[in-house]
């Protein structure tokens, strides 16, 4: 069973479109995260939720909106996609904030 899953794995879309990425974890963890990895492999945290409550919200354009319907799911919706949004987006989860994180396989977003 996959611990942290993301869908879709690949997403190719045009500028200006709106898209969503879904994440689910079956580990029973309380905390979930979204990271963006750019072409230079740098990883930047975007958001973190603890028990459905937003606890970390980095300097991210408000076109990005996370939603956590329950503590096992954390989705990422992106409005008005731009070329600079092209990256790999990783979802992760952990038992608590300072604990080790378990990562999903990533979603490669390409904006043309």
């Amino acid at each position: 069973d996959t611990a942290v899953s993301q869908t879709p794995k690949y997403l190719v879309t045009q500028m200006g479109n709106d898209k969503s990425i879904k994440c689910e974890q079956n580990l029973g963890h309380d905390t979930m995260y979204w990271y963006k990895q750019d072409s230079k492999k740098f990883l930047k945290i975007m958001f973190s939720y603890n028990n459905k409550e937003l606890i970390i919200n980095e300097t991210v354009p408000n076109r990005f909106s996370p939603k956590s319907p329950d503590k096992a799911h954390l989705n990422l919706h992106i409005n008005s996609l731009e070329l600079g949004d092209s990256a790999v987006y990783f979802c992760a989860s952990s038992q608590a904030r300072a604990y080790e994180q378990y990562f999903g396989p990533g979603t490669r977003l390409t904006v043309t």
Binding site: K41, E100, Q101, F103, P105
Partner: protein, 111 residues
């Protein structure tokens, strides 16, 4: 201020030789520190973690790391590199209540 600094962006070793990937941390206390590995086109996998129980931490795939408070370092080592070790490695430490990733070290293993 960055919580962790990975001192080398690229490291190249020959198969069978030792691996050393360097990470320094900045903290006034003993933090929780982690090393993750990312193979090409894959997600990140935890290699090992330090949580103050023991200064020498053993991880998966023969990797280990030693927490040295006097040097504020948490370097990752492996006695003998294997071709399958070629990957991106990230050191992770806390900053302002969240985990912060270093910039990564690309490990190349030559046959």
């Amino acid at each position: 201020a960055q919580s962790v600094t990975q001192l080398d962006s690229h490291v190249s070793v020959s198969e069978g030789t030792p691996v050393l990937l360097r990470c320094n941390y900045s903290s006034s206390y003993s933090p929780s520190l982690f090393w993750y590995v990312q193979h090409p086109n894959k997600g990140l996998q935890l290699l090992l973690k330090y949580t103050s129980a023991a200064t020498l931490v053993k991880g998966i795939n023969g990797f280990e790391a030693e927490f040295k408070k006097s040097e504020t370092s948490f370097h990752l080592t492996k006695p003998s590199a294997h071709m399958s070790d070629a990957a991106e490695y990230f050191c992770v430490g806390p900053r302002a209540g969240k985990s912060t990733f270093g910039d990564g070290t690309t490990l190349t293993v030559k046959p």
